[in-house]
C-alpha cells in the first residue's frame, strides 16, 4: 500500500455531468484517487454527493464526461465494444437492493452461472462444480437451494447470491455500492464478515461505497469523503476518523450515532442542507455551511494537498493548523 507500488485503479480528474447544455448538473466535479491492490477504499458522503455515480462511472455504466480511469495500467474511458466487455470481467459491482438486482424468475444456479455461460470459460461438469463451490463459499447450500428461484430468498440471502455471481469471473476489483444498507443488523454483520473472508480468499480489492460511517470504518483501509461532487478528504481510516482535517469530515463524524450511551452526544450539529449541485457555490463547495469560511474560501477553490503520509485534504484551513494558532 506504499506509494511505490503501482495502483490497481487510478482515477484522475474524473467529471460526470448530466443534463442538457442549459441545465448542467455536475454530479462528480473532478476527483482523483488511487486504489492499491488488496486494499479497501471506503467512499462516504451524504446523498447526492456523487459517490454512487463515481462507482457507476468506474464500471462505465454512466459515461464519464472527462478525466481518465486506469485499471491495471489500461485506460478504460475510451474502450468500446469487445474491449470494454473484456475489461468488465476484471471488475464487478454489487448494488444496494439485493432483491431487484436478481431476476426473480431465474434459478439461483443459473444466476450465478450467467457470467460463465456468457464467456464460456467453463462448461458441463466443471461449470456445475464451480457454481456449487461459489454458492457454498457465500453460505448458500447448493444442493438444497440451488434449484430455487431468486424470489424465494430473503434480502440477506439475495445479497449472498449477488456476491457469488460477482465472483464467478474472478474479478480483481469489486465495487460495493451501499451493499448492506438495506439489511438488518444481524444480517449485515453476516455479510460484512463474509465480505472480509472472501476478500482474503480471492485477493480482492474493494471500493466500498456507503453512507454509514461505522460500516465504512469497519471494512476500509483508507477512506475518501465526498461532498457535492468533490473529494474533500482522503486518508487512512484510523487517522481520518481520529483526527479529521476537513471541517466537513469532523461534522459528519460528529453526527454519526454510536451505539453506546456513554458516547458523547454530538455537540456541534451542522446546520442547513447541502446546496444544489445545479448551482454549486464558488470556491470551496462546503463554504456555505462551514464555520471557518473566509473570503479566500469563496474566491479560491482548495485543491487536495498532502498533509501527512497518505492523508490529503482539500481545505484552505485544515483543522490541525487552526488549533495550532
Amino acid at each position: 500500500m506504499s506509494d511505490t507500488t503501482q495502483p490497481l485503479l487510478k482515477v484522475r480528474d474524473l467529471t460526470i455531468t448530466f443534463g442538457s447544455r442549459r441545465h448542467q448538473l455536475s454530479a462528480v466535479a473532478g476527483i482523483s484517487f488511487d486504489i492499491y491492490e488488496g486494499e479497501t477504499l471506503g467512499l462516504v458522503g451524504e446523498s447526492g454527493c456523487g459517490k454512487s455515480t463515481t462507482g457507476r462511472a468506474l464500471m462505465r455504466i454512466v459515461e464519464p464526461s472527462s478525466g481518465t480511469i486506469e485499471l491495471e495500467g489500461i485506460e478504460i474511458t475510451t474502450k468500446k465494444g469487445k474491449d470494454l466487455r473484456n475489461l468488465r470481467t476484471r471488475m464487478q459491482m454489487i448494488f444496494q437492493d439485493p432483491i431487484s438486482s436478481l431476476n426473480p424468475r431465474r434459478r439461483v444456479k443459473d444466476i450465478v452461472a450467467e457470467p460463465l455461460d456468457c464467456w464460456k470459460t467453463v462448461e458441463g461438469a466443471e461449470r456445475e462444480a464451480l457454481v456449487d463451490d461459489l454458492l457454498s463459499k457465500v453460505g448458500i447450500d447448493p444442493v438444497a437451494y440451488g434449484e430455487r428461484y431468486a424470489r424465494q430468498f430473503s434480502g440477506g440471502q439475495c445479497q449472498r447470491i449477488s456476491i457469488a455471481r460477482s465472483l464467478a469471473m474472478r474479478p480483481k476489483l469489486l465495487i460495493c455500492d451501499e451493499m448492506v444498507s438495506a439489511l438488518d443488523v444481524s444480517v449485515q454483520a453476516q455479510i460484512l464478515n463474509l465480505l472480509e473472508d472472501l476478500k482474503a480468499e480471492y485477493g480482492l480489492t474493494l471500493l466500498f461505497i456507503a453512507h454509514d460511517l461505522a460500516v465504512v470504518k469497519n471494512v476500509s483501509d483508507r477512506v475518501a469523503v465526498m461532498y457535492l461532487g468533490k473529494i474533500c478528504e482522503i486518508g487512512p481510516s484510523d487517522t481520518l476518523y481520529e483526527s479529521p482535517e476537513h471541517p466537513y469530515t469532523k461534522f459528519l463524524l460528529g453526527a454519526a450515532l454510536e451505539a453506546d450511551p456513554g458516547s458523547p452526544v454530538h455537540g456541534e450539529v451542522l446546520s442547513g442542507e447541502p446546496p444544489s449541485p445545479l448551482n454549486p457555490p464558488s470556491g470551496c463547495r462546503f463554504r456555505t455551511r462551514c464555520p471557518n469560511a473566509t473570503d479566500k474560501c469563496a474566491n479560491e477553490e482548495p485543491q487536495l494537498v498532502q498533509i501527512a503520509t497518505g492523508h490529503q485534504v482539500a481545505c484552505h484551513y485544515p483543522l490541525s493548523t487552526l488549533t495550532r494558532k
Binding site: 443488523v185 444481524s186 453512507h211 469497519n218 453526527a255 450515532l257 451505539a259 453506546d260
Partner: protein, 333 residues
Amino acid sequence: MSQKQKLLVVKDLATTFHTPSGPLAAVGGVSFELEQNETLGIVGESGSGKTVLSRTIMGLQPRANVEVRGSVLLNGFEVVGASEKEKRSIWGLEVAMIFQDPMTSLNPVMRVGKQIDEILRVRLGMDRPAAKAKAIELLDLVGIPSPAERYDVFPGELSGGMRQRVVIATALAGSPKLLMADEPTTGLDVTIQAQILNLLEELKERMKMSVVLVTHDLGVVATRTSRIIVMYAGRIVEMGSTRDVFYHHRMPYTRALLEGSPKVSNPSHTRLLAIPGRPPNLLNLPKGCSFAPRCSFATDRCHEERPELEAAGAPDHTFACWNPLPVKERASA
C-alpha cells in the same frame, strides 16, 4: 418514579393478523409502562413487531382481519376496543405519530401550511387567521427558515429533512402528551438525522411530552432515551434503562444486536459478532423461545418452553431467557 401518574400502560397486548395462511402473531403479549416526560426506545429488526406495536398503541389498526387483545391505557383512555369516533378525541390531542417517510405522510397537492391548519381548525376549533398564525408559529418552532413563506409551499418543494420537520409540526399542533415516532430519521442523511433528533429532544422538554422512539438503529436510541425495549418476533426480550440494556444485557439476542453493529470507535477490520440465520416466520413461531434456533446457548428447555420476562437485578430491568449471559460487574453507581 412510581408516584407519578403513568402516561401509558400497555398490558398483555397482542395483535394478530388473520391471513390466508393462518393467524400471524405480529405482537404477542407485550406489557410496559411509560412515565410522563420520558423517552422510551423500541428497537428491533424488521418484522420484530415494533411498528405494529406502535400502530396498535395509536389504535390505527384496521378492523378487518386484525385481532387486538389486551389493554392500552393512554392517560386513562382505553384504546383497545374504542370506536373510531372515540379515538378521534385523543388523536392529535393526547397522542400523535410521525412516520418514517415524510413524503407519504404529507398530502403532495396541499400546501404545507394548510395541512397544519387543518388540525388546528378541526381539532381545536380555531378560525382561519388564528390557525394560520399558529401554523406559522409551529413551522418556526420546528426550525424551518422563513416560516411565513414556507407556509405556502407544496411538500414536493421541500427536502426530506424539511418535510420531516413539517410532519413534526403537524404532530405537535394539538400539543399531544405522547409523541410516537416510528423510524423518524431513517432515510435521512446523518447530518440531517442529527438535526431532527436534536429537535425532537428539545421539543420534548419544551412541550413536556413523552416520546416513544421506534427504530432499528441502536445508535439512535443510545443517547436519546432513558429506557429501551428490545423486541424479537413480536415479543419483548429485554427491557430496562438504556445503560442496563447496553452495558448489562442478559439476553443473547441483545448482545447479538449490539456486537453485530459496526462502531465508529472500533479499529478497522473488527470482526463482528454475527448470529446465523434470520428472524423466524411469524406464521409458524417456534414452540419455545423464538430466538432459540439462532442462539448458541440454547438448550432443550429453550426449544420446549417459552421464557417469560424476569427481573435482572437492577430496578425495571427484565429479560426473557433461560440461559442468560452472566451478570457483568456493575460500576458503583
